[in-house]
Protein backbone atom coordinates (compact mmCIF):
# COMPACT_ATOMS: atom_id res chain seq x y z
CA UNK A 1 0.00 0.00 0.00
CA UNK A 2 1.50 3.26 -1.05
CA UNK A 3 0.53 6.56 0.55
CA UNK A 4 -1.82 8.81 -1.44
CA UNK A 5 -0.25 12.02 -2.70
CA UNK A 6 -2.75 14.90 -2.74
CA UNK A 7 -0.41 17.79 -3.34
CA UNK A 8 3.04 19.23 -2.97
CA UNK A 9 4.07 22.61 -1.55
CA UNK A 10 5.45 24.95 -4.19
CA UNK A 11 6.07 28.33 -2.51
CA UNK A 12 5.95 31.35 -4.78
CA UNK A 13 7.31 34.78 -4.13
CA UNK A 14 6.76 38.02 -5.87
CA UNK A 15 9.17 40.95 -5.96
CA UNK A 16 8.03 43.93 -7.91
CA UNK A 17 9.03 47.47 -8.69
CA UNK A 18 6.21 49.76 -7.73
CA UNK A 19 5.97 52.88 -9.91
CA UNK A 20 4.59 55.42 -7.46
CA UNK A 21 3.74 58.38 -9.70
CA UNK A 22 4.32 62.08 -9.03
CA UNK A 23 1.99 62.81 -6.11
CA UNK A 24 2.78 59.70 -4.04
CA UNK A 25 6.49 60.38 -4.71
CA UNK A 26 6.13 63.77 -2.96
CA UNK A 27 4.44 62.03 -0.05
CA UNK A 28 7.22 59.43 0.20
CA UNK A 29 9.95 62.09 -0.09
CA UNK A 30 8.18 63.96 2.71
CA UNK A 31 8.34 60.88 4.94
CA UNK A 32 12.10 60.71 4.34
CA UNK A 33 12.25 64.21 5.89
CA UNK A 34 9.93 63.37 8.77
CA UNK A 35 6.98 65.24 7.22
CA UNK A 36 3.52 64.18 6.08
CA UNK A 37 2.47 65.74 2.80
CA UNK A 38 -1.10 65.60 1.50
CA UNK A 39 -2.81 67.33 -1.41
CA UNK A 40 -5.96 69.45 -1.55
CA UNK A 41 -8.57 69.06 -4.28
CA UNK A 42 -9.08 72.40 -6.08
CA UNK A 43 -12.75 71.59 -6.55
CA UNK A 44 -14.09 70.11 -3.27
CA UNK A 45 -11.16 71.23 -1.03
CA UNK A 46 -10.84 67.77 0.53
CA UNK A 47 -7.29 66.92 1.63
CA UNK A 48 -6.02 63.51 0.57
CA UNK A 49 -3.21 61.62 2.26
CA UNK A 50 -1.43 59.80 0.78
CA UNK A 51 -2.18 61.91 -2.29
CA UNK A 52 -2.81 59.97 -5.49
CA UNK A 53 -2.59 63.00 -7.77
CA UNK A 54 -6.29 63.30 -8.42
CA UNK A 55 -9.53 63.58 -6.49
CA UNK A 56 -11.57 60.38 -6.78
CA UNK A 57 -14.82 62.30 -6.26
CA UNK A 58 -14.24 65.24 -8.62
CA UNK A 59 -11.95 63.57 -11.13
CA UNK A 60 -9.59 66.55 -11.27
CA UNK A 61 -5.82 66.72 -10.68
CA UNK A 62 -4.69 67.74 -7.18
CA UNK A 63 -1.60 69.96 -7.33
CA UNK A 64 -1.56 71.91 -4.03
CA UNK A 65 0.59 70.24 -1.42
CA UNK A 66 -0.59 70.53 2.18
CA UNK A 67 1.74 69.94 5.12
CA UNK A 68 -0.17 67.86 7.63
CA UNK A 69 0.19 67.43 11.35
CA UNK A 70 1.48 64.10 12.60
CA UNK A 71 -1.28 64.17 15.22
CA UNK A 72 -4.81 63.03 14.71
CA UNK A 73 -7.66 60.91 16.00
CA UNK A 74 -8.52 57.24 15.93
CA UNK A 75 -11.78 57.07 13.98
CA UNK A 76 -12.17 53.29 14.30
CA UNK A 77 -9.90 50.30 14.90
CA UNK A 78 -9.47 46.56 15.13
CA UNK A 79 -7.74 44.54 17.83
CA UNK A 80 -5.91 41.81 15.93
CA UNK A 81 -5.51 38.70 18.09
CA UNK A 82 -4.55 36.32 15.30
CA UNK A 83 -0.99 35.86 14.04
CA UNK A 84 -0.55 35.66 10.26
CA UNK A 85 2.25 35.22 7.74
CA UNK A 86 3.99 38.48 6.84
CA UNK A 87 2.66 40.38 9.83
CA UNK A 88 4.77 43.35 10.86
CA UNK A 89 4.00 42.92 14.54
CA UNK A 90 3.19 40.27 17.09
CA UNK A 91 -0.46 39.77 18.00
CA UNK A 92 -2.32 41.12 19.86
CA UNK A 93 -2.04 44.59 18.39
CA UNK A 94 -4.30 47.42 17.34
CA UNK A 95 -4.58 48.51 13.72
CA UNK A 96 -6.24 51.90 13.68
CA UNK A 97 -7.82 54.20 11.19
CA UNK A 98 -6.11 57.53 11.97
CA UNK A 99 -7.53 60.82 10.70
CA UNK A 100 -4.65 63.31 10.77
CA UNK A 101 -5.50 66.89 11.72
CA UNK A 102 -6.21 68.72 8.48
CA UNK A 103 -6.82 65.58 6.41
CA UNK A 104 -10.16 64.34 5.07
CA UNK A 105 -9.30 60.68 4.74
CA UNK A 106 -7.88 58.35 7.39
CA UNK A 107 -4.61 56.43 7.20
CA UNK A 108 -4.25 52.90 8.49
CA UNK A 109 -1.48 52.38 11.02
CA UNK A 110 -0.38 50.54 14.08
CA UNK A 111 -1.30 51.88 17.52
CA UNK A 112 1.02 51.17 20.47
CA UNK A 113 2.02 52.30 23.97
CA UNK A 114 -1.57 51.65 25.10
CA UNK A 115 -3.35 48.56 26.39
CA UNK A 116 -5.66 47.15 23.72
CA UNK A 117 -8.68 47.43 26.02
CA UNK A 118 -8.03 51.15 26.55
CA UNK A 119 -8.23 52.11 22.86
CA UNK A 120 -11.30 54.21 22.01
CA UNK A 121 -12.90 55.70 18.94
CA UNK A 122 -12.03 59.41 19.03
CA UNK A 123 -8.75 58.92 20.94
CA UNK A 124 -6.10 61.58 20.17
CA UNK A 125 -2.85 60.08 18.85
CA UNK A 126 0.52 61.14 17.46
CA UNK A 127 3.12 59.57 15.19
CA UNK A 128 6.27 58.03 16.65
CA UNK A 129 9.02 58.40 14.05
CA UNK A 130 12.17 56.36 13.58
CA UNK A 131 15.43 58.21 14.50
CA UNK A 132 16.41 60.87 11.90
CA UNK A 133 19.23 58.80 10.42
CA UNK A 134 16.79 55.97 9.72
CA UNK A 135 14.20 58.04 7.87
CA UNK A 136 13.37 56.66 4.44
CA UNK A 137 10.83 57.28 1.67
CA UNK A 138 8.44 54.77 3.20
CA UNK A 139 5.59 54.56 5.66
CA UNK A 140 8.02 52.61 7.84
CA UNK A 141 9.48 56.00 8.83
CA UNK A 142 6.52 56.16 11.19
CA UNK A 143 6.95 53.28 13.63
CA UNK A 144 3.46 53.56 15.05
CA UNK A 145 1.00 55.98 16.60
CA UNK A 146 0.52 56.46 20.35
CA UNK A 147 -2.02 58.32 22.52
CA UNK A 148 -1.23 61.99 23.22
CA UNK A 149 -3.28 62.05 26.44
CA UNK A 150 -5.46 64.91 25.12
CA UNK A 151 -9.24 64.61 25.62
CA UNK A 152 -11.05 62.40 23.07
CA UNK A 153 -12.58 64.06 20.02
CA UNK A 154 -16.40 64.08 20.06
CA UNK A 155 -18.08 61.46 17.82
CA UNK A 156 -19.77 64.21 15.76
CA UNK A 157 -16.37 65.55 14.70
CA UNK A 158 -15.34 62.37 12.88
CA UNK A 159 -18.55 60.51 12.07
CA UNK A 160 -18.25 61.61 8.42
CA UNK A 161 -15.05 59.58 8.24
CA UNK A 162 -16.50 56.21 9.20
Amino acid sequence: MSEQVYGIKVPIRLDYTYVVGTAPARFLRGLAQGKIVGQRCPSCAKVYVPPRGSCPTCGVPTRDDVALSDKGIVTTFCVVNIPFAGSAVKAPYVSASVLLDGADIPLFHLLQEVATEDVRMGMRVEAVWVPNDELQPSMNSIRYFRPTGEPDAPFESFKEHL
Binding site: V47, T57, C78, V79, V80, I82, G86, S87, M121
Partner: protein, 385 residues
Amino acid sequence: MANPCAIAGIGQTRHASQRADVSIAGLVREAALRALEDAALTFADIDAVVIGKAPDMFEGVMMPELMLADALGAAGKPMLRVHTAGSVGGSTALVAASLVQAGIHERVLTVAFEKQSESDAMWALAPKIPFQPTVVAGAGGYFAPHIRAYIRRSGAPLDIGMRVALKDRLNALRNPYAHLHQEDITLEQIAQSPMLWDPIRYAETCPSSDGACAMVLVSEQAARSAPHRPAWVHASAMRSEPTMFAGRDQVNPRAGQECAAAVYHQAGITDPRREIDAAEIYVPFSWYEPMWMENLGFAPEGTGWRMTLEGATAFDGDLPVNPSGGVLSSNPIGASGMLRFAEAAMQVRGQAGEHQVDGAKRALGHAYGGGSQFFAMWIVGSEKP
Protein backbone atom coordinates in the same frame (compact mmCIF):
# COMPACT_ATOMS: atom_id res chain seq x y z
CA MET B 1 -36.04 45.71 -23.67
CA ALA B 2 -33.89 42.77 -22.67
CA ASN B 3 -35.05 39.26 -23.63
CA PRO B 4 -36.26 37.08 -20.76
CA CYS B 5 -33.65 34.89 -19.10
CA ALA B 6 -34.49 31.69 -17.22
CA ILE B 7 -32.45 29.66 -14.76
CA ALA B 8 -33.02 26.12 -16.02
CA GLY B 9 -30.26 24.28 -14.17
CA ILE B 10 -28.53 24.70 -10.82
CA GLY B 11 -25.71 22.65 -9.33
CA GLN B 12 -23.33 22.96 -6.42
CA THR B 13 -20.66 20.82 -4.85
CA ARG B 14 -20.53 19.52 -1.33
CA HIS B 15 -18.52 22.24 0.35
CA ALA B 16 -15.73 21.27 2.75
CA SER B 17 -12.53 22.64 4.22
CA GLN B 18 -10.61 20.35 1.88
CA ARG B 19 -11.94 18.49 -1.14
CA ALA B 20 -8.80 16.39 -1.54
CA ASP B 21 -10.78 13.96 -3.69
CA VAL B 22 -10.92 16.39 -6.64
CA SER B 23 -8.65 18.81 -8.46
CA ILE B 24 -9.87 22.32 -9.29
CA ALA B 25 -11.05 20.95 -12.64
CA GLY B 26 -12.88 18.12 -10.88
CA LEU B 27 -14.48 20.57 -8.48
CA VAL B 28 -15.93 22.83 -11.19
CA ARG B 29 -17.09 19.80 -13.20
CA GLU B 30 -18.97 18.44 -10.20
CA ALA B 31 -21.07 21.62 -10.02
CA ALA B 32 -21.37 22.00 -13.82
CA LEU B 33 -22.53 18.43 -14.39
CA ARG B 34 -25.18 18.79 -11.69
CA ALA B 35 -26.47 22.01 -13.29
CA LEU B 36 -26.54 20.37 -16.74
CA GLU B 37 -28.35 17.33 -15.37
CA ASP B 38 -30.94 19.57 -13.71
CA ALA B 39 -31.54 21.21 -17.11
CA ALA B 40 -31.38 17.86 -18.97
CA LEU B 41 -28.58 19.21 -21.16
CA THR B 42 -25.00 18.19 -21.93
CA PHE B 43 -21.87 20.25 -22.54
CA ALA B 44 -22.61 19.92 -26.28
CA ASP B 45 -25.84 21.96 -25.88
CA ILE B 46 -24.03 24.92 -24.31
CA ASP B 47 -23.21 28.00 -26.43
CA ALA B 48 -20.80 29.78 -24.08
CA VAL B 49 -19.14 29.44 -20.67
CA VAL B 50 -18.71 32.31 -18.20
CA ILE B 51 -16.50 31.60 -15.20
CA GLY B 52 -15.55 33.54 -12.09
CA LYS B 53 -13.31 33.16 -9.04
CA ALA B 54 -11.54 35.38 -6.52
CA PRO B 55 -8.15 36.90 -7.45
CA ASP B 56 -5.49 34.50 -8.83
CA MET B 57 -3.31 35.35 -5.81
CA PHE B 58 -5.45 32.99 -3.69
CA GLU B 59 -4.51 29.59 -5.18
CA GLY B 60 -1.50 31.06 -6.95
CA VAL B 61 -2.74 29.75 -10.30
CA MET B 62 -2.57 32.44 -12.94
CA MET B 63 -5.66 32.53 -15.18
CA PRO B 64 -7.07 29.13 -14.18
CA GLU B 65 -9.80 29.60 -16.80
CA LEU B 66 -7.23 28.60 -19.42
CA MET B 67 -6.67 25.15 -17.94
CA LEU B 68 -10.37 24.75 -17.13
CA ALA B 69 -11.61 25.30 -20.70
CA ASP B 70 -11.60 21.61 -21.58
CA ALA B 71 -12.96 20.48 -18.21
CA LEU B 72 -15.97 22.74 -18.81
CA GLY B 73 -16.52 21.74 -22.41
CA ALA B 74 -15.59 25.18 -23.69
CA ALA B 75 -13.40 24.10 -26.62
CA GLY B 76 -14.67 25.79 -29.76
CA LYS B 77 -16.93 28.11 -27.79
CA PRO B 78 -16.66 31.55 -26.21
CA MET B 79 -15.29 31.41 -22.66
CA LEU B 80 -14.82 34.41 -20.46
CA ARG B 81 -13.68 35.17 -16.95
CA VAL B 82 -15.16 37.79 -14.67
CA HIS B 83 -13.13 39.56 -11.95
CA THR B 84 -14.83 41.52 -9.17
CA ALA B 85 -13.15 40.12 -6.01
CA GLY B 86 -15.61 38.64 -3.48
CA SER B 87 -18.70 39.66 -5.45
CA VAL B 88 -17.46 37.75 -8.48
CA GLY B 89 -19.89 34.85 -8.17
CA GLY B 90 -22.76 37.31 -8.50
CA SER B 91 -21.32 39.38 -11.30
CA THR B 92 -20.31 36.23 -13.21
CA ALA B 93 -23.95 35.10 -13.19
CA LEU B 94 -25.02 38.56 -14.35
CA VAL B 95 -22.54 38.61 -17.24
CA ALA B 96 -23.81 35.17 -18.27
CA ALA B 97 -27.43 36.35 -17.99
CA SER B 98 -26.69 39.40 -20.12
CA LEU B 99 -25.54 37.15 -22.99
CA VAL B 100 -29.00 35.56 -22.96
CA GLN B 101 -30.84 38.83 -22.36
CA ALA B 102 -29.02 40.40 -25.32
CA GLY B 103 -30.14 37.55 -27.57
CA ILE B 104 -26.54 36.50 -28.29
CA HIS B 105 -26.77 32.98 -26.89
CA GLU B 106 -29.57 30.50 -26.10
CA ARG B 107 -27.86 28.44 -23.39
CA VAL B 108 -25.00 29.72 -21.25
CA LEU B 109 -23.19 27.74 -18.55
CA THR B 110 -21.88 29.85 -15.70
CA VAL B 111 -19.55 28.52 -13.02
CA ALA B 112 -17.74 29.96 -10.00
CA PHE B 113 -15.35 28.30 -7.60
CA GLU B 114 -12.65 28.54 -4.96
CA LYS B 115 -10.35 25.88 -3.61
CA GLN B 116 -9.28 27.50 -0.37
CA SER B 117 -7.39 24.42 0.80
CA GLU B 118 -4.92 25.14 -2.01
CA SER B 119 -4.81 28.83 -1.16
CA ASP B 120 -3.65 31.19 1.56
CA ALA B 121 -6.32 33.85 1.73
CA MET B 122 -4.85 35.55 4.82
CA TRP B 123 -1.59 36.07 2.96
CA ALA B 124 -3.28 37.14 -0.24
CA LEU B 125 -5.34 39.70 1.69
CA ALA B 126 -2.43 41.14 3.69
CA PRO B 127 -0.68 42.99 0.87
CA LYS B 128 2.63 44.76 1.36
CA ILE B 129 2.15 48.15 -0.26
CA PRO B 130 4.47 51.12 0.02
CA PHE B 131 1.93 53.44 1.66
CA GLN B 132 0.91 51.43 4.65
CA PRO B 133 2.48 49.08 7.14
CA THR B 134 1.36 45.43 6.92
CA VAL B 135 -1.07 45.61 9.81
CA VAL B 136 -4.29 44.70 8.03
CA ALA B 137 -4.69 40.99 8.79
CA GLY B 138 -6.86 39.38 6.14
CA ALA B 139 -10.48 40.23 5.40
CA GLY B 140 -11.40 40.26 9.10
CA GLY B 141 -8.80 42.95 9.81
CA TYR B 142 -10.27 45.04 7.03
CA PHE B 143 -13.93 44.68 7.99
CA ALA B 144 -13.68 44.74 11.82
CA PRO B 145 -13.24 48.55 12.05
CA HIS B 146 -16.34 49.05 9.89
CA ILE B 147 -18.33 46.70 12.11
CA ARG B 148 -17.14 48.68 15.15
CA ALA B 149 -18.32 51.85 13.39
CA TYR B 150 -21.72 50.23 12.71
CA ILE B 151 -22.15 49.24 16.35
CA ARG B 152 -21.29 52.77 17.45
CA ARG B 153 -23.55 54.44 14.90
CA SER B 154 -26.57 52.19 15.44
CA GLY B 155 -26.25 51.56 19.17
CA ALA B 156 -26.95 47.87 18.47
CA PRO B 157 -26.77 45.44 21.42
CA LEU B 158 -23.43 43.61 21.36
CA ASP B 159 -24.95 40.14 20.98
CA ILE B 160 -26.58 40.78 17.59
CA GLY B 161 -23.61 39.37 15.68
CA MET B 162 -23.70 36.17 17.74
CA ARG B 163 -27.43 35.76 17.08
CA VAL B 164 -26.83 35.98 13.33
CA ALA B 165 -24.09 33.36 13.56
CA LEU B 166 -26.37 31.02 15.51
CA LYS B 167 -29.28 31.47 13.09
CA ASP B 168 -27.17 30.82 9.97
CA ARG B 169 -25.46 27.76 11.46
CA LEU B 170 -28.83 26.31 12.46
CA ASN B 171 -30.14 26.99 8.93
CA ALA B 172 -27.12 25.14 7.52
CA LEU B 173 -28.33 21.98 9.25
CA ARG B 174 -31.16 21.98 6.68
CA ASN B 175 -28.71 22.25 3.77
CA PRO B 176 -26.91 19.01 2.83
CA TYR B 177 -24.30 20.89 0.75
CA ALA B 178 -23.23 23.27 3.56
CA HIS B 179 -19.67 23.06 4.84
CA LEU B 180 -20.49 23.53 8.53
CA HIS B 181 -22.98 21.24 10.20
CA GLN B 182 -22.72 22.14 13.87
CA GLU B 183 -25.52 20.10 15.44
CA ASP B 184 -25.20 21.37 19.01
CA ILE B 185 -24.13 24.96 18.47
CA THR B 186 -25.32 27.41 21.14
CA LEU B 187 -25.14 31.14 21.72
CA GLU B 188 -22.86 30.46 24.67
CA GLN B 189 -20.36 28.53 22.53
CA ILE B 190 -20.27 31.39 20.07
CA ALA B 191 -19.74 33.90 22.90
CA GLN B 192 -16.82 31.86 24.22
CA SER B 193 -15.07 31.42 20.89
CA PRO B 194 -11.82 33.42 20.56
CA MET B 195 -12.00 37.09 19.65
CA LEU B 196 -9.92 37.07 16.44
CA TRP B 197 -10.35 40.58 15.13
CA ASP B 198 -12.13 42.42 17.92
CA PRO B 199 -15.16 42.88 17.57
CA ILE B 200 -15.27 39.73 15.39
CA ARG B 201 -15.23 36.36 17.17
CA TYR B 202 -14.04 33.14 15.54
CA ALA B 203 -17.58 31.73 15.48
CA GLU B 204 -18.82 34.91 13.79
CA THR B 205 -16.61 34.45 10.73
CA CYS B 206 -17.16 32.36 7.62
CA PRO B 207 -15.26 29.09 7.25
CA SER B 208 -12.61 28.55 4.59
CA SER B 209 -14.13 26.20 2.00
CA ASP B 210 -13.50 24.31 -1.21
CA GLY B 211 -16.52 24.45 -3.44
CA ALA B 212 -18.14 25.43 -6.72
CA CYS B 213 -21.52 26.49 -8.03
CA ALA B 214 -22.94 26.40 -11.56
CA MET B 215 -26.07 27.48 -13.36
CA VAL B 216 -27.49 27.00 -16.84
CA LEU B 217 -29.11 30.23 -18.01
CA VAL B 218 -31.37 29.99 -21.05
CA SER B 219 -33.63 31.99 -23.35
CA GLU B 220 -37.42 31.84 -23.19
CA GLN B 221 -37.40 29.52 -26.21
CA ALA B 222 -34.86 27.14 -24.65
CA ALA B 223 -36.72 27.23 -21.31
CA ARG B 224 -39.70 25.51 -22.97
CA SER B 225 -37.79 22.24 -23.22
CA ALA B 226 -36.47 22.36 -19.64
CA PRO B 227 -37.74 19.39 -17.62
CA HIS B 228 -38.12 21.31 -14.35
CA ARG B 229 -39.79 24.61 -13.62
CA PRO B 230 -37.23 27.39 -14.21
CA ALA B 231 -36.70 30.56 -12.21
CA TRP B 232 -36.84 33.86 -14.11
CA VAL B 233 -34.57 36.87 -13.84
CA HIS B 234 -36.79 39.81 -12.86
CA ALA B 235 -34.04 42.34 -12.27
CA SER B 236 -30.26 42.57 -12.23
CA ALA B 237 -27.73 45.27 -11.41
CA MET B 238 -24.10 45.88 -10.53
CA ARG B 239 -22.60 49.02 -9.00
CA SER B 240 -19.03 50.00 -8.07
CA GLU B 241 -17.38 52.74 -6.09
CA PRO B 242 -13.79 53.96 -5.68
CA THR B 243 -11.62 52.15 -3.12
CA MET B 244 -11.14 55.35 -1.19
CA PHE B 245 -12.57 58.83 -1.18
CA ALA B 246 -13.16 61.42 1.52
CA GLY B 247 -16.42 60.72 3.32
CA ARG B 248 -16.78 57.20 1.92
CA ASP B 249 -19.39 55.38 3.97
CA GLN B 250 -18.28 51.77 4.30
CA VAL B 251 -21.00 50.95 6.81
CA ASN B 252 -23.79 51.84 4.39
CA PRO B 253 -22.06 52.13 1.00
CA ARG B 254 -23.72 54.24 -1.66
CA ALA B 255 -22.99 51.67 -4.40
CA GLY B 256 -24.99 49.08 -2.44
CA GLN B 257 -27.93 51.42 -1.88
CA GLU B 258 -28.04 52.35 -5.55
CA CYS B 259 -27.67 48.76 -6.73
CA ALA B 260 -30.62 47.74 -4.52
CA ALA B 261 -32.71 50.69 -5.72
CA ALA B 262 -31.99 49.67 -9.33
CA VAL B 263 -33.16 46.06 -8.91
CA TYR B 264 -36.29 47.08 -6.99
CA HIS B 265 -37.15 49.60 -9.70
CA GLN B 266 -36.68 47.02 -12.48
CA ALA B 267 -38.79 44.46 -10.61
CA GLY B 268 -41.50 47.02 -9.78
CA ILE B 269 -40.90 46.58 -6.05
CA THR B 270 -41.78 49.50 -3.78
CA ASP B 271 -41.80 47.75 -0.38
CA PRO B 272 -38.95 45.22 -0.49
CA ARG B 273 -39.53 43.81 2.98
CA ARG B 274 -43.13 42.89 2.09
CA GLU B 275 -42.63 41.99 -1.57
CA ILE B 276 -39.53 39.78 -1.29
CA ASP B 277 -40.12 36.33 0.16
CA ALA B 278 -36.52 35.24 0.85
CA ALA B 279 -33.05 36.78 0.60
CA GLU B 280 -29.66 35.18 0.15
CA ILE B 281 -27.16 37.88 0.98
CA TYR B 282 -23.39 37.93 1.33
CA VAL B 283 -22.64 37.86 5.08
CA PRO B 284 -19.03 36.72 5.62
CA PHE B 285 -18.97 38.23 9.12
CA SER B 286 -22.15 38.00 11.20
CA TRP B 287 -22.60 41.74 11.73
CA TYR B 288 -22.98 42.25 8.00
CA GLU B 289 -26.55 40.91 8.21
CA PRO B 290 -27.94 43.96 10.06
CA MET B 291 -25.64 46.28 8.08
CA TRP B 292 -26.93 44.94 4.74
CA MET B 293 -30.56 44.93 5.95
CA GLU B 294 -30.18 48.71 6.09
CA ASN B 295 -28.11 49.04 2.93
CA LEU B 296 -30.68 46.97 0.99
CA GLY B 297 -33.59 49.06 2.24
CA PHE B 298 -35.23 46.32 4.32
CA ALA B 299 -34.87 48.46 7.46
CA PRO B 300 -34.36 52.20 8.09
CA GLU B 301 -30.75 53.23 8.78
CA GLY B 302 -29.61 52.30 12.30
CA THR B 303 -32.37 49.69 12.85
CA GLY B 304 -31.28 46.63 10.85
CA TRP B 305 -30.24 44.90 14.07
CA ARG B 306 -33.86 44.94 15.24
CA MET B 307 -34.77 42.58 12.40
CA THR B 308 -32.24 40.07 13.70
CA LEU B 309 -33.27 40.56 17.34
CA GLU B 310 -37.00 40.20 16.59
CA GLY B 311 -36.46 37.09 14.47
CA ALA B 312 -37.60 38.71 11.22
CA THR B 313 -34.59 37.26 9.37
CA ALA B 314 -34.98 33.78 10.92
CA PHE B 315 -36.13 30.79 8.87
CA ASP B 316 -39.70 31.34 10.09
CA GLY B 317 -39.47 35.15 10.08
CA ASP B 318 -41.20 37.53 7.68
CA LEU B 319 -38.02 37.88 5.61
CA PRO B 320 -35.93 34.71 5.88
CA VAL B 321 -32.30 35.72 5.28
CA ASN B 322 -29.85 33.01 4.23
CA PRO B 323 -32.08 29.97 4.74
CA SER B 324 -29.23 27.94 3.20
CA GLY B 325 -26.90 28.88 6.05
CA GLY B 326 -25.21 31.50 3.89
CA VAL B 327 -21.55 32.45 3.66
CA LEU B 328 -21.20 31.91 7.43
CA SER B 329 -21.71 28.18 6.80
CA SER B 330 -19.86 27.71 3.46
CA ASN B 331 -17.34 30.09 1.93
CA PRO B 332 -15.67 28.96 -1.27
CA ILE B 333 -14.96 32.68 -1.87
CA GLY B 334 -15.33 32.95 -5.66
CA ALA B 335 -18.41 30.73 -5.60
CA SER B 336 -20.03 32.34 -2.55
CA GLY B 337 -21.76 35.09 -4.55
CA MET B 338 -23.05 32.63 -7.14
CA LEU B 339 -24.32 30.39 -4.34
CA ARG B 340 -26.41 33.34 -3.09
CA PHE B 341 -27.81 33.87 -6.57
CA ALA B 342 -28.42 30.14 -7.09
CA GLU B 343 -30.01 29.64 -3.67
CA ALA B 344 -32.39 32.55 -4.40
CA ALA B 345 -33.36 30.80 -7.66
CA MET B 346 -33.76 27.45 -5.84
CA GLN B 347 -36.25 29.10 -3.48
CA VAL B 348 -38.53 30.37 -6.24
CA ARG B 349 -38.27 27.04 -8.08
CA GLY B 350 -39.44 25.28 -4.90
CA GLN B 351 -36.24 23.24 -5.10
CA ALA B 352 -34.60 24.07 -1.76
CA GLY B 353 -35.66 20.90 0.09
CA GLU B 354 -35.37 21.16 3.86
CA HIS B 355 -34.52 24.86 3.70
CA GLN B 356 -37.36 25.73 1.32
CA VAL B 357 -39.21 28.88 2.39
CA ASP B 358 -42.88 28.06 2.04
CA GLY B 359 -44.42 29.57 -1.09
CA ALA B 360 -41.41 31.75 -2.04
CA LYS B 361 -42.30 33.55 -5.29
CA ARG B 362 -39.69 36.28 -5.40
CA ALA B 363 -36.17 36.18 -3.94
CA LEU B 364 -33.09 38.40 -3.79
CA GLY B 365 -29.54 37.20 -4.48
CA HIS B 366 -26.76 39.56 -3.32
CA ALA B 367 -22.96 39.65 -3.41
CA TYR B 368 -20.35 42.24 -2.51
CA GLY B 369 -16.59 42.34 -2.68
CA GLY B 370 -13.36 44.29 -2.90
CA GLY B 371 -13.75 46.03 0.48
CA SER B 372 -17.44 46.85 -0.13
CA GLN B 373 -16.48 48.29 -3.49
CA PHE B 374 -18.43 46.05 -5.88
CA PHE B 375 -22.07 45.05 -5.58
CA ALA B 376 -24.05 42.57 -7.67
CA MET B 377 -27.71 41.66 -7.17
CA TRP B 378 -30.54 39.91 -8.88
CA ILE B 379 -34.19 39.36 -8.16
CA VAL B 380 -35.60 36.10 -9.41
CA GLY B 381 -39.21 35.00 -9.56
CA SER B 382 -41.28 31.90 -10.14
CA GLU B 383 -43.26 33.60 -12.93
CA LYS B 384 -41.97 34.90 -16.25
CA PRO B 385 -41.74 38.72 -15.93
